[in-house]
Symmetry: C2
Subunit: 398 residues, 2 copies
């Protein structure tokens, strides 16, 4: 078959705030073919910036947009997906945003090939890598923010426990802002609210920058509450500081990596940062294949792979296929309470099943369908003119 259209869609809620909520808007990418098959993918990135990577005028041989690279191309097999990914990245070598933008199209290409071969994406990955084809359930953890105070945090944690969560991550807000005593009280409140049987994770939201000494002290101080990890205590690029921190073997494992815009960034923070959990967003790093390559690297290094997902369940589907077959990588960041847009985006979201677990769908491709009718109210049509040239006009959703 041939690729006939590659269309980005900018969707957003009516009011966008500075809140740490990545579900307020999104960029979807639809790939259409001449035999009627279509696939979808979702980017975690600035929708407008990434959209222009699909349509920007050519600057020279290293700045050619994604549509130009893909439309008219043959797409019959997984080999074509890999070949086209190489082409897109080579043609976009001098576009910094290329991985963020291409993630959506790459995921859509896997969706198409999965449907064509009538296999879930995770099986295609297993075949490609000659590894187990058995999928394993994941324990979902809710991602929430700390309350402004320890008391408010306790109430949030109690609420999560009552909703059945056996794991929850508490992020930023006051963390790191009001001194060690308050930081410890916040973690204590999360633990007490969730109960001793639950897993709790602490997300410091890069608050200590390059100060690995303070990050180490906090990890030691938090250890009494047995958090599963301390996430992003340092800036994403502070690889040497991560290395200094992890060399001291803090009593709480260190997690990071959501800011990996390229495979090399993930490799860098695993190898030189020495982290214990690597968190990868398939909607940022360039899609399913580079995420899977990080998973393989994590397996080699004894690092635990975890998804980073703060968009809709379309992104969750892509994330799950990447590491469904590794039973040791058993934690899943699970978007539980995003915007209306993100909750309506797919027709059948992933449920938390009666055993408290989430499972990949045994359906062709990604296994989820975009609900174009439900999301139509959120579409923000984009028009871009450069000189007299209309470089982007919004295609219809359906």
């Amino acid at each position: 078959m041939k690729i006939t259209a590659v269309d980005p869609f900018y969707l957003r809620m009516p009011n966008i705030t500075t809140a740490a909520d990545g579900t307020q808007d999104t960029l979807l990418v639809r790939v259409r073919t001449d035999i009627g098959l279509e696939g979808w993918g979702e980017c975690d990135a600035s929708p407008l910036v990434s959209l222009t990577v699909y349509c920007c005028p050519m600057s020279h041989g290293n700045i050619i947009n994604i549509r130009t690279s893909l439309i008219g191309e043959t797409l019959d097999s997984l080999d074509d997906v890999l070949r086209l990914s190489e082409k897109v990245l080579r043609n976009g070598l001098d576009i910094q945003q290329i991985e963020h933008a291409y993630s959506g199209a790459e995921i859509a290409l896997w969706d198409v090939i999965g449907q064509k071969s009538e296999k879930p994406v995770y099986r295609l990955l297993a075949e490609l890598s000659n590894t187990s084809e058995m999928a394993h359930p994941k324990l979902p953890y809710a991602s929430v923010l700390f309350g402004d105070t320890p008391a408010a945090t306790y109430q949030i944690a109690v609420g999560l426990r009552e909703r059945g969560y056996r794991a929850a991550k508490f992020g930023w807000g006051p963390m790191g802002k009001f001194g060690e005593t308050n930081d410890i009280a916040l973690v204590q409140a999360a633990r007490e609210g969730m109960g001793t049987d639950a897993q709790i994770m602490i997300d410091a939201g890069v608050v200590w920058g390059t100060d690995h000494e303070t990050a180490y002290q906090r990890a030691e101080a938090f250890a009494q509450f047995s958090p599963t990890w301390l996430e992003e205590p340092l800036a994403p690029d502070a690889i040497d500081a991560y290395g200094s921190l992890t060399k001291k073997n803090p009593s709480v494992p260190i997690a990071a990596g959501e800011g990996s815009n390229t495979y090399r960034m993930a490799e860098d923070i695993i190898v030189h940062g020495g982290i214990q959990f690597v968190q990868i967003d398939a909607g940022r790093i360039g899609g399913i294949m580079p995420s899977f390559q990080v998973r393989q690297l994590a397996e080699e290094h004894g690092t635990q792979y975890v998804n980073h997902t703060f968009k809709s369940h379309l992104s969750l589907a892509a994330a799950l296929h990447v590491f469904a077959t590794n039973p040791d990588f058993n934690l899943l960041e699970y978007p539980a309470a995003g915007s209306e847009l993100s909750q309506r985006l797919v027709t059948e979201p992933f449920p938390v099943e009666s055993d408290g677990m989430v499972r990949v769908k045994e359906l062709p491709g990604l296994g989820v369908k975009v609900n174009t009718e439900a999301i139509r109210p959120y579409l923000s049509p984009v028009q871009i003119e450069v000189g007299t040239e209309k470089v982007f006009e919004q295609p219809p959703l359906a």
Copy 2:
């Protein structure tokens, strides 16, 4: 003073081709203040993609555009430049293209502060780092492509020698495409055409990907013609392959780094790639300050810093200030024959002086002025609408 406007301008030649010529288009950024001072900077990036980083709607607290971060801010000193850079990068943490885009504004902020303090940018850098304030001349090297054949390459080299060039870099084209014998013949032709006294550099244009064995063999085979360096034999992200190559101590020094979109990427390829020359584009890595930090790192590591510049002499000015005061870093990539647009862009380009050298200008700020009348014919006005919102309307050039 206060920042009153931050305006990007997309300029381009009438016909853009896939040729390896980065001067076919450009993105300029003008920063205006309430006391009438204005500064300019140039980005080496996709103009449209980078332009949207100045105006994209907010997605959440980590995706806030550059104009929002800068307009209305106080700009009185170098401390303000550094503070505002930190703000822009923090607000744009989840915009992959942020460094490419911000480069233009960052350079413009230095231009403004240099004019206000009546000092060239290189002196401000020297004061900031407590290092020598003496500028040194640079030996310009012409950047050209190999001819399709050794004979054509010889003619190109003879032409450069006749124009007075004492150094020239020959790039890609047939290099690496037709086997070792042809590769060697190309380098031999460049050497014979330039003469034994000249410096020649070889740019392989990432042709060997991750194949460090072949890169090593070519370096050894080229050594008889004494090239100053072998540039980008491997893919920009192939840091481990660079490390494997440089650990073998090839007889020709290895150069790379133009693809450094962040300070960390440059640090990574210096420390783990083990290269001998690091090539930094101030119009990509986020501007003058991160480039200067790479220069300092290069000084610590015994690596030679060289600019990467393939735009107008506005970019050349920014590049020169970064390393003007280090006499050992004595080579300058010099855009000699770009498009009409790039040649007309500044009122007084940097001449090659009678001693064959190029010198930074002893004028406030960058020391060059944008010729707005001359470039007006190349302006491609941009208009962007998202939903009913006009997120970008083209401001006038003057």
